[in-house]
């Protein structure tokens, strides 16, 4: 199913912002808020995982039901998960399209990657654990 993805701030994202490698930050930034009717259409329940794909990449996220956004739109806290599917083109303004990203969403059993996993996918090297 095709959706419009919007990223933005949430309190849990901001609270864990100094602890980006924590489970709390991972949870806060890899949660996809989706309308309950859209969950029903996808045939899954809140808490199930989905694969979200844009023209720029793909990432596994955990769903959470909400009535606060309209059907056809999904919301995610800003962070490395949102950026895994955000493009770097800025329309010559300096600002990439962090909002209004067209995505395809399908249910998956795959695990949600960690922040270190995402950084290693772009060529980084994890520190510590």
């Amino acid at each position: 199913m095709t959706f419009i993805l919007i990223s933005g701030r949430t309190i849990p994202q901001g609270s864990f912002v100094e602890h980006k490698l924590s489970k709390g930050y991972q949870r806060a930034t890899s949660t996809l808020f989706i309308h309950s009717l859209d969950l029903y259409e996808l045939g899954i329940e809140s808490g199930d995982r989905v694969n979200v794909t844009s023209s720029f990449g793909s990432v596994v996220l955990t769903t959470e039901t909400t009535e606060d956004i309209q059907t056809g739109c999904v919301y995610i806290a800003l962070g490395p998960y949102a950026n895994a599917i955000t493009g770097g083109y800025t329309h010559a303004t300096g600002m990439p399209d962090y909002k209004d990203i067209i995505v395809e969403i399908e249910p998956t059993e795959d695990p949600v990657p960690t922040v270190w996993d995402l950084m290693e996918m772009v060529g980084g090297v994890r520190y510590g654990n």
Binding site: T86, G88, T90, W116, M119, V122, V125, Y127
Partner: protein, 430 residues
């Protein structure tokens, strides 16, 4: 021991009424702070030593070794990029701008990926703004457009708008109206007198419709605009025109959506239109506690607020070309210094792929996503907790950040000064 009136080094509200309780040089309690500031004051985890990557593995190094390596990387680079700056004080930013000029670097801040479009719009049509004190004491109508103060600036409403007592407002609960425009029914939207739920990308259309209504041209507005009924827009336009003092605050819902700076320009022009009927102001909800400060510092020093390229030996500013995302997308930088921000978590994937492929150095107290992209990380004192200096609130008011605990970690400013000195030594050696 308790230290009062400590400014909070988290968001652009820079709340300066925080009380911090200390025992044995440790923070044991924080009062008046929001959840976000509280988490920062009470944070325990940090990087203890400078680290460097050798043969694909991280090793601990001394400050001298880390500074030497950073100076070598920056000296050898043809197209160095200096990025970040919003989480540190003006005094450190000044050293950063000098460094950029000296090595012919491109310097940009997190502004580039937050309110860059607001600055472009202000440069086109001006900024009818005011301080937050004016809003607190005078505004009888507050509009939050494309922003969610309850989650991003949790005390904005209680200190400056909806829940704040105002000198010229008899009863803030009944005399101050709130309008929220957002794509999502956020917590802020739930307490608004009018909530406009706009379809994604529809802000420009709604702003244009309201401008027409304020001009008295209601007949040109169709029955529904970007999913919003005309009757609601008429109610909102009436509320705006009847206000004695209206204040619009806008966020990244306006700057990042389709249209970008043209959305902000339209919002400013709506405010100009409203000023023909009553008094109205508009202000950006700035994110990092000193993101505004970097715009001030770079403007004093180079004449432009962000995205300044010194590679020609002069300050050259052309957002869309000299802005950090465009530069990385073109894979131009061959070295990068990141100070007080975390592009690893906040930049699009293709741009951080390039950061990981070049020598990147980070100056930051904590391990973060950018750590993985770096060759070197130098830990520093936490600005506003362990070191003092100047920061600018979102409305341009400078506030002195306090040092509340002692630390052995050097400040950003000290590390940057040592890097500049080392680069000069290397260059004079030939």
């Amino acid at each position: 021991m308790e230290i009062r009136d400590v400014p909070c080094p988290f968001c652009g509200c820079l709340c300066d009424d925080i009380s911090v309780r200390l025992e044995d040089n440790r923070i044991t309690g924080v009062e008046n702070c929001c959840t976000l500031g509280n988490a920062k004051f009470l944070s325990k985890s940090r990087l203890q030593h400078p680290i460097m990557r050798k043969d694909g593995k991280w090793i601990e190094v001394t400050y001298e070794e880390a500074i030497d390596e950073t100076a070598r990387i920056l000296s050898d680079a043809m197209r160095p990029l200096l990025y970040g700056w919003s989480g540190t004080i003006g005094e450190a930013q000044v050293v950063g701008v000098h460094l950029a000029e000296e090595i012919g670097a491109l310097i940009d801040s997190t502004t580039s990926v937050c309110h860059n479009p607001s600055i472009l719009a202000i440069q086109e049509v001006g900024h009818p703004g005011c301080t937050l004190g004016q809003v607190k004491n005078r505004a009888d109508l507050v509009v939050y457009w494309g922003c969610n103060p309850i989650e991003a600036h949790p005390r904005h409403m209680s200190r400056y708008t909806t829940y704040a007592d105002g000198y010229f407002i008899d009863n803030t609960a009944t005399d101050r109206k709130v309008i929220v425009v957002d794509i999502r029914r956020s917590d802020g939207a739930k307490i608004a007198d009018e909530f406009i739920q706009v379809k994604p990308g529809g802000d420009y259309l709604i702003l244009s419709a309201l401008r027409a209504m304020v001009r008295g041209k209601d007949e040109v507005v169709p029955d529904s605009v970007a999913g919003v009924e005309k009757v609601q827009l008429q109610r909102v336009a009436d509320l705006m025109m009847k206000a004695k003092f209206g204040a619009v605050f806008f966020g990244l819902g306006v700057t990042m959506s389709r249209g970008k700076y043209k959305n902000v320009r339209n919002a400013i022009e709506l405010v100009s239109e409203l000023n023909r009927k009553t008094k109205f102001t508009i202000s950006a909800m700035r994110g990092h506690f000193n993101v505004y400060g970097f715009n001030e510092v770079l403007t004093w020093m180079a004449g432009y607020p962000f995205a300044v390229d010194f590679s020609r030996g002069i300050a050259f500013y052309n957002p869309g070309e000299t802005s950090v995302i465009d530069l990385l997308e073109r894979k131009e930088p061959d070295a990068c210094l990141v100070v007080a921000s975390d592009p690893g978590a906040h930049f699009p994937k293709s741009t951080i792929e390039h950061m990981a492929s070049i020598p990147t150095v980070q100056i930051d107290p904590c391990v973060n996503a950018t750590t993985a992209l770096c060759q070197v990380q130098i830990p520093v004192a936490i600005t506003g907790v362990e070191s003092a200096g100047t920061a600018y609130r979102m409305d341009g008011v400078p506030i002195r950040m306090k040092k509340v605990i002692e630390t052995e970690f050097p400040t950003d400013q000290e590390i940057l000064e040592r890097i500049v000195t080392r680069i000069r030594e290397m260059r004079s050696d030939g």
